[in-house]
Assembly symmetry: D2
Homo-oligomer: 361 residues x 4
Amino acid sequence: MSVNSFGHLFRFTTWGESHGPALGAVVDGCPPGLAITEDAIQPYLDARRPGQSKFTTQRQEPDQVRILSGVFEGRTTGTPISLMIENVDQRSKDYSEVAQAYRPGHADYAYDAKYGFRDYRGGGRSSARETAARVAAGGVARLVIPEVSILAYVVEIGGDTIDRASFDPAEIYRNPFFCPDASAAERWAEQVYAVRKAGSSIGAVVECVATGVPAGWGAPLYGKLDADLAAAMMGINAVKGVEIGDGFAVARLTGEQNADPMRPGAQGPMFEANHAGGIAGGISTGQPVVVRVAFKPTSSILTPQATITRPGENGQSEATELFTKGRHDPCVGIRGAPVVSAMMALVLADHKLLHRGQCGT
Amino acid sequence: MSVNSFGHLFRFTTWGESHGPALGAVVDGCPPGLAITEDAIQPYLDARRPGQSKFTTQRQEPDQVRILSGVFEGRTTGTPISLMIENVDQRSKDYSEVAQAYRPGHADYAYDAKYGFRDYRGGGRSSARETAARVAAGGVARLVIPEVSILAYVVEIGGDTIDRASFDPAEIYRNPFFCPDASAAERWAEQVYAVRKAGSSIGAVVECVATGVPAGWGAPLYGKLDADLAAAMMGINAVKGVEIGDGFAVARLTGEQNADPMRPGAQGPMFEANHAGGIAGGISTGQPVVVRVAFKPTSSILTPQATITRPGENGQSEATELFTKGRHDPCVGIRGAPVVSAMMALVLADHKLLHRGQCGT
Amino acid sequence: MSVNSFGHLFRFTTWGESHGPALGAVVDGCPPGLAITEDAIQPYLDARRPGQSKFTTQRQEPDQVRILSGVFEGRTTGTPISLMIENVDQRSKDYSEVAQAYRPGHADYAYDAKYGFRDYRGGGRSSARETAARVAAGGVARLVIPEVSILAYVVEIGGDTIDRASFDPAEIYRNPFFCPDASAAERWAEQVYAVRKAGSSIGAVVECVATGVPAGWGAPLYGKLDADLAAAMMGINAVKGVEIGDGFAVARLTGEQNADPMRPGAQGPMFEANHAGGIAGGISTGQPVVVRVAFKPTSSILTPQATITRPGENGQSEATELFTKGRHDPCVGIRGAPVVSAMMALVLADHKLLHRGQCGT
Amino acid sequence: MSVNSFGHLFRFTTWGESHGPALGAVVDGCPPGLAITEDAIQPYLDARRPGQSKFTTQRQEPDQVRILSGVFEGRTTGTPISLMIENVDQRSKDYSEVAQAYRPGHADYAYDAKYGFRDYRGGGRSSARETAARVAAGGVARLVIPEVSILAYVVEIGGDTIDRASFDPAEIYRNPFFCPDASAAERWAEQVYAVRKAGSSIGAVVECVATGVPAGWGAPLYGKLDADLAAAMMGINAVKGVEIGDGFAVARLTGEQNADPMRPGAQGPMFEANHAGGIAGGISTGQPVVVRVAFKPTSSILTPQATITRPGENGQSEATELFTKGRHDPCVGIRGAPVVSAMMALVLADHKLLHRGQCGT
């Protein structure tokens, strides 16, 4: 019952902090015989890598992944795959301020309340840097589900949403926002740049669609595909909401409006709509699996905020103000897209194996 | 790795189907020495019980819970608590139609795709009737967390939301909608009655607030309090979205707007806002824990919908139409409120014990 | 992480006490579509059932198993199978002595030390009566592994071992000792009868052999087939030792003596010996899986033994003496054989599914 | 449900192979605030380290452990502790023989049968080299249980047992056999030397005693302290038997002989004997916890043995002979002692936390 692990049969454990020597993931349960190299995983890390545009943090990390175990002669052996990423650019800045007071909106206070002690350098374990380990693990997961295509993209920044009519998958990798709508990307460039210049930050919504998932993955009632996706996504730093298919919009629909009627098709049922987001009763229906994830604005902003100091010897906190210097993403949701995509891959790989174990197919 | 179990240290397993002889839950990990009787659990089941108003299903189930183990002389012994609820009103209706075709929007097709076989009577295991077992288990969980108060209520039905200015907790139990706003409850009565008369259904949003949760519960990074809540809520039948604190609204906020500044207080920090919904970095902050859950409109409606038959001997499905007779909730979100409340209790009880195990407090 | 559950993918949870209204098991992960009836499970319970000969406890329990969920039209549905066995013969004897003092050799003191409270009626949850639930679950497990035959038998009682030259599998069910050697059974009848008459008890060793297990089941390194068998067997009441293949005898062998040389065979390798007991590196080799399990003499004897009372209000225990009246097995190992057999089935069923999930075969 | 992880709340995951670049363990669930350095862990690795006497393998590995995460300013933070040990002396020998045929008694055939593919260099993941990771994790576990003292020593090699009357704990670290009896150590030196010279190997029994374990650790019925110990020990390479307390000897005892009578003592009960090995009903009694573990003779011997080749293109294996060159322990049980000790620490640390979570003490 590791609280740093995720998954049923395809299971990964991550370790590492923002400013430690390295971070990594141990992937357990990867089937044997899959062709794998570091080069197959690296592109996913590159997509998440910081310092690539003026719209993300300027921390420079090569994020080179090394495979330390579980692979022999270019193939997985079925034993644990240890992935390690060294931290390089841990700037030797002064963290004394953060050590003495809690950054509002961050996990600083909660960690201290829980553990009575914390690694305050760059957020320690609570830093979004840990998501590099998830993305590396996700790279392995993709090898397990070659039948599935996953697309993750930003659909909203600061209230400005994409135009679905202009949706172009190819556009996603042409702009620094993983935005499938070229004109929205242009608007966002201005908006995010302004936010950044103001020392502020802004929220975003990421959508992720997996096509090619066959009907039957998922496990009622406490290993539901959608419940596992919800846990996977809500566990990403800065995420405050998760929805499947029509999500919160269903609350405004009637049963007729929300229906996904079926007709017979050559390859199984044809659905006339996908309000359900490809999941019914916790089990995939064969339609695209659709998830949307809300990222809050980065809590690290330049505006000073009221906060309190760590309790001193007298057990009392003092009022103080903090603003976050450091190097931060003005819109953490942008780099969240590759993480959402990785978590989707990890959940689906897990459920593919689980279904095979449960039902033999 | 039971897919019918939930929880880390306080863990429950449910069993049973809509039309079997009984259903139940086995609660494992309940601390010893707690005073417990069936009467302490029954009120939660009564709140969820069907057939209590014209706005819910007319199936009549007494939902009397029996404790079969784990209790001696009125106190928990630390061993598994077996809870059983007998099914009484399994109407001997003709399910032959449902046996031969898949009800759209239901789990029928997905279960059949997964298992190649299904209990088609009333949805079998996928029926919302299983939530009675969760509610019973939740009744035990509440004994573990006497310091916590949980309130769950409906905030929106079919796009009509409550007026926060009229919020009255006492009102929640005065109307059949668990609605904290008396005038909204009146409007909903008309709306739901009309929907029901039309043989249709409607969606809803349930909000749940837990006060009294101390700072420090939750476990980074894959046992986060919010991630576990997301899984717990998304695993409830008909749920399509979960959000914590401001949820999806954060995507439209800037860092300044989303901040929860702190000031020193006599009993720990005073927060000036609670956009975070009481959780930061996956750990409780001592503020109220706030979750919102979207329920889709019940898929069972009287309007005939296009669907397909089970594949025959030639492996082919035929096109057909189905409408759902049976007895169904026109707005499944209403009776969802006690279930959301139970899941909140179950997650919090679990994290209280987990935190004690991890950190000794 | 239920401590009342066992298994990876085929997982069961038991509940119930010696003197509660009922006990049971919830079996999760049973594949769908298997033909199953209560009649298929009952014979295993009958073999374990008390009160069948003068060599076992005289408690009379019909041990009728009921299936409450997970089965539809005579086949498993893939959802949890709830099995319940009602307790009938809970003699209303006076337990006041046991309530006030700890029976030596029993779990009484340990339970009280752990929980600060215990169900003292007949040992409560620590009673061997709980093994009825395991045997019922084992009956389901056998359906999952039709390719495997399991034989469990007693090979030693009180130092008197069977003669391997007289081994006759058919004999096992002809005597009340599950003894494969007719003449040993005769000797044991005298020995156990004498022990019983003396109000004493005696230890035993059970051996269990599973044939038909294909090579490849098991999972390095912490889900090893032998490690899981060791946990399964050591978890049975009164067990103090477990060995695989040659077991402790290997400590006296050289590498040459312990070798299991292989030759090519028509159906895979032919092994010239089976010192390894069918498991290498935690994975089955295709040879018979051989386990031996040591049961201590029942702690309940008529000879008074020194013990202590529960601490009184002053926190002090007093010295006292106890002997156990009740109805007890003079040799608990005898009825252990069906339990060992059930645990073997449960572990193998689990590893069959796990292997399928991991490796797709 | 990682099969490369062990533990409930204090849980570790190992990774790595004999001839990969490194191996390691991720320890999850270590409480925060414990003082820890690499120097505190290294001595345990040094005790297990190969190449230290002529009675163990001549592979030279410094086995320097590095802490990569989870520690800040010399204290544990409550987050995962990543431990890494680099492999240095992976001799570039020719493994072509082993690649083409299965070494009898090794896991070669079983791994290939399971995975259809294996890392044949030095046994890959099935190599006892993996136990270095367990020993490192065990070093962390010891920090969690300062109240417990653990002693592991060899009590038998090749049928020659120690004289309990000559038991001297201090002697254990004075000879290369972890032998508490000086004269037995002398005899073993001759015996093991002869075995080694003959290119053979020999079995051994390791005993491990933990004192200071309070009453109450352990969890009925499927997280029993003895069941977890059995799994932990049986999962060590080359182990074929595990017993608690009197173990298999109980089968020859009567109830009177096996009794552990209690008398009141100043610090809780005084036991007059410890046949139970400190565990009753799966829960510690406060007495020393006693485990014995049987190690088979190393399968790698110089005598050629009949074996088979990997199936060729025609799916057929050929008969062949193999003897193992390489560098091997003539008595793998000797270096097993530090591993047994580590597993004891890991199980006890886990159950201490689990008990605290369950019962709050």
